[in-house]
Each structure stands twice: as structure tokens, then as C-alpha cells.
Amino acid sequence: MKKKGLLLTIMVLLTLALLAAGCGGEKDSKDTAASGSGGGDTIKIGFLGATTGDQADFGSKTLAGMKMAAEDLNKEGGVLGKKIEIVEEDHGSKLSEGVNVVQKLINRDKVVAIVGDPTTGITKAVAPIAESSHVVLLSAGAVGANVVNTEDGKLREYVYRNTLLDAVAAPAVVKYLAEELGWKKVAIVTTKDLDYSVGLTKIFKKALADNGIEVVTEETIMDKDRNFAATVTAIKPHQPDGIVFTGYYTAGGLFMKEVKKQGLDINMVGGDGLLGSTLWEMGGEAVNGSMVYCGFEADPSMAQGKTKDFIERYSEANNGEMPNMFVAQGYDAVMMLADAIKAANSDDPVKFKEEIKKLKNWQGVSGTITIRENHEPLKSPVYLLEVVEGENGQQFKVKAAIPVEG
């Protein structure tokens, strides 16, 4: 028994030594970080997202948009005379590391706001931390329920998002499909492992039923699937008028390629998860005619002002690649925060969060945003875009602008 007791003591000591080593090692970097913000010449905004792992594509795009916004702001002398600094941290697409990252950003880097995560899941997981630490969390991608409010419906004071609210946009688009395009029966394809897609499918199904469009078959895929031969072969005998695809652009483009390859002459419609030039990089000619709805005119020929300038500059810096919704929302998130900080004349989250609540008809590159009383964003009008063959290859063209109201 004595032996065991001693062993236990050793174990405890060993663990404690490790903990001490851990804390000691990290204290140094903490000091330098603190002195950075203590100087008061920068405003730190944290990036929460993945640059490695499964969700790296979404995270790195959001980050690209954020960096572009910070550059633009700093070129004009920053905000309140201070430079905007983006503190990037990668959570490797892991939930547990996402929580670590938020704690680090808040407690060590002393950020005033965090932009992220592109997925609803991690945003939901970290929202209570931001709320209790009084740091603004602005998600540039979370679309699911219970993000800006708790599970029991209580509004969060520090958590916002700037995404397009599908619950409002999708029904408007479905109405258009039924009335203008005369669709009567559709196939729904859900990406089962994406919270975005599962949520959007629910909204679409209700809207389709309300507008008298029949769902002839429901198929499910996974976001990392690249082979859709079997799924498309299963859809084929149902002969739908179109496909409602609720997933992201990579799978969407490849899915359409397979659809056309198997000789089905129908188009797909989907949410802003499909928005991006990746859609035709993957799908080629097969995505011509595919429709995507989003909150801004992602059509280089029609876009004006800010949006046009944003699209052009991003394409120039990225070999002609069009900014997708993650880039646009990442850009807008930083800009929204900057405007709120300016309006409050303070970079104290307690003060400038009040200004975020007041944003009305705020002109961003991803649309005109109004934060409603329930803290949810509203983007109106919703643009239905179509992929067409343009002068410089494929591009989106505005097919319809549908006004929506919450």
C-alpha cells in the first residue's frame, strides 16, 4: 500500500511539473502579446476557423476576405487611428481545438472581436464563451438555428452573424421556380454531413410543399464524395424538372457533371453554398444554367460600387478566381466590426456591440444587411444568379432580384 501511495505522489508531481512547464513556457509569449495591445495602436480581431483539416477550404477563404478588409482599412489610416490586426489561429477542423483557440484569442491575444467560425457547429460551441467574456463573436458562415440566441430562446448580446438567412430567402426562390420557371417536380440532394445542407433541405422541403412542387426523390451524399455515378443513376428514372442541391460548390459542380454525363438535361438550384468559381472549375460546361441565390450581385457585369470593386480586386490578386461567399462574408465581417467601432468611437466590445445591433441597410460586398430586433441579419433583395458563358469564360449572371422581408 505504501508503495502505491508513493507512486501516486510521483504521478501527481509529474503531472504538476508538466502543467507548470506548460504555463511557464507560454507566459513569455503572453507578455509580448499583451504589450502589443497595451500600446493601444492596434485593434485586434481574431480569426476562428480551420486552415488545415477537412474544413480548411472554408476557413482559409474566410481568412483571405478578412485580410483583404484589414488591408483596405489600414490603407485609409485604420479605425479610430489604430491599425486593424488580424490574429489568425487554426483549429485544424477540430471542435476541441476550436474552443481552445477562442480561449486563447480572448485571454492571451486580448482581441476585441472574433470572426468565425464558418460552420454552425463550432460557432455554437464557442458562443457561450464569447458571451461570458464580453467579446464580440461575428460568424461569417453559421446559418443554423440557435446561434445568436441560446437554446431556450434568450438573445445573446455578443454573438452576431452576417450570413444570408435561408429561412427567408429559400421560400422566395422556390416561389420563383414554381411561378416563373414552371417547375413541378424536383429531386432534392442533401449533403448529410453538413449542418448547412441538412438545415437548408428542411427549409426547401417546406417551401416546395407550400408552392405545390412535388419532391420525386430525395438523395443524400457526403461533402467529401467525389463519385456521384450511383446517386445520379438513381435519380434518372424519376425525370425531375430540376435538382435542388443544398450542399457546397465542389460537390455541386461534380454532381452536375455527372448529371449531364448521364444524359439528364436538367439544372440545379441551390443556396449561396454553391457560390464560387469552384462550381465551374469542377463542373465545366455542365453547370451552365445552374442557379444559385445569394445576397449580392455576384455578376461582374452588373455589380456596382463596392461589390464590383471587391470582385475585381480579389480576382486580380487570385489568378482570376471569383470570390466565393466565404471570402465576401469574411470581408464584410471585418468591415461591419470596423463601422461599429467607428460609430461607437470605442474599441470596447461592451460599447460597440450596441452599434452592431443598430446596423440598418448596411452596404457590404455580400449584400445589404440589416440586423433585426431578434439579432438575425436580413439581406434584401435576394439575387438569383445563373451560370452563363460570358466573355471571359463562365460567370454568374443575375436572373432575378427578389425582394424579401423578415
Binding site: 482559409s60 457526403m222 467525389r226 454525363k261 472549375e281
Partner: protein, 290 residues
Amino acid sequence: MFEQQIINGLTLGAVYALIALGYTMVYGIIQLINFAHGEIYMIGAFVGVMMVTILGQGFFVSIIAAMMVCMILGVLLERVAYRPLRKSTRLAALISAIGASIFLQNAMMLWKGPQPVGFPQVINDAIYHIGSVEVTKVQLIILATSAVLMAILNYIVKYVKIGKAMRAASQDYDTASLMGININRVISFTFAIGSALAAAGGVLVGIYFNTVEPLMGVMAGLKAFCAAVLGGIGSIPGAVLGGIFLGVAETIGIAAGFSTYKDAIAFSLLIIVLLFKPTGLLGKPIQRKV
């Protein structure tokens, strides 16, 4: 429609089989689950894309180049990450393999970015009708290329000296080395061949799915490993049989409406087979000396 799904499944299965061969050969000789094999397949696919987009080469040159690059990479991988651990426990070698796999994935992600890259069209696709079944040209090319590569492998293993040495080493490692077989050479050669086949699989998949990405090797590698175990690990015909079996089963599963359970289908099949035939379909029973 059923026949159509069989064709889809066969094509997928042929690719699983190409990757599974690398697992099975390596396992046959050094009893190592080479978890970085999926990454070799991924790198092969990327080399293929680069040959087409940067150097403007056609299908044939691209696939050969990818195979050559991965051969070297495979041999290098074995030298660096596995050879120093040959006398260690199998779990140690396994962890080293997982480490190598994480390293290669992230190296590619740093270089090419995390987003998927489209595979340019190198083959003008066409559809042929055989009875009620439609076969695309790409599917035919995948089936034909896989068949040719497997025939070459079969020839090497059966009739070429180094191939015979491989078989000897896989039967009895120690005796083979006592008989004057240079085990290190045999192992290097095994990695080279296995990696070349995986690279070919990578390029074929890139063409078939129109896309390559840094994490494509993870699930494909795992499934191919399943195929190898299913067929009887260490057995070359077993890997081919396992790959095709898995490809067809998975496709039929999706067609029957179980697409979200797709990843579970491969493993369920594997478990069922192993419970009844603990060494796989064509595996030899394990003989234990007491």
C-alpha cells in the same frame, strides 16, 4: 439500372484494387499497415494534374510520370520512416506511418492549398451503349489500365527474379534472407511497385471524379485497406477480388438508398467476412506454433 450500377461499381472497385495491392504486398512482407499509402495515391493524382496543366502532357505520359515520382517517394518513405523501426513493435511502425501520413497531407496542403483542384479533361469522353447499359470511355480506360497493370504485376511476381524473391520473403522473411535474398532490396522494390500502382489509381480517380485534393487519400486509403483485408491480406488476387467486391457492394448500397451509410457499408462487409473467415476471402489460415 442494376446492370448500370454494376458497371459503376466495377470501375470504382478497379481503383480500390489498385490501391489495395500496395497495402497487401507491403503487409505480406513486413506485416506493416502502411497508413501513408493513401497519401502516395493522393500525391500521384497531383503529379498527374501538374503534368497535364503545367507541362501540357496527355494521359499516357502523365500516368507514367506520376508512377515514377511515387515510386521514388515510396522508397524514400520506407527508408526514412519504416526501416529504422523494422525491429521494433508493430504499433511503433504503425504510429510512424500515421505520422508520415499527417506530414504528407499537410505538406501538400501547404503547397497547393486545401481546396480541391479540377482535373483537366485529358480524355474526350464518349458514351457507348452495350445493350441497356451505358459505358463511358473513361470507365473503359480505367478498367483497361487497371487490367494491364495487374497483368504486369502478376508477370513480375510470378516470373521475374525479384518477384520470386518477393514471394519468398513474404512466405518466410528469415529463411529468405538466409537463402541470400537481399531483403532490403526486396522491400524497397515492393514499396516502389505498390506506390506506382497507387499513383496510377490516383491519376485514374482524378480523371474519373474530375478532381484531386490533399485529403483525398484518407478515406480512399482506408477503404482500399479494407479491400485488402477483405480479400485476405498478403494475397495479391485477394486484393483485386476485395477491391472489386467492395466497389460493387458500395455502389449497390448507394443505389438502394443507403448513401449516407456508404462508409459503413465497406466496414460492415469487412466485419461480416472476417467473423466467418478470419483471414479474409482468399487468405491462408494463420498457423500458430506453440
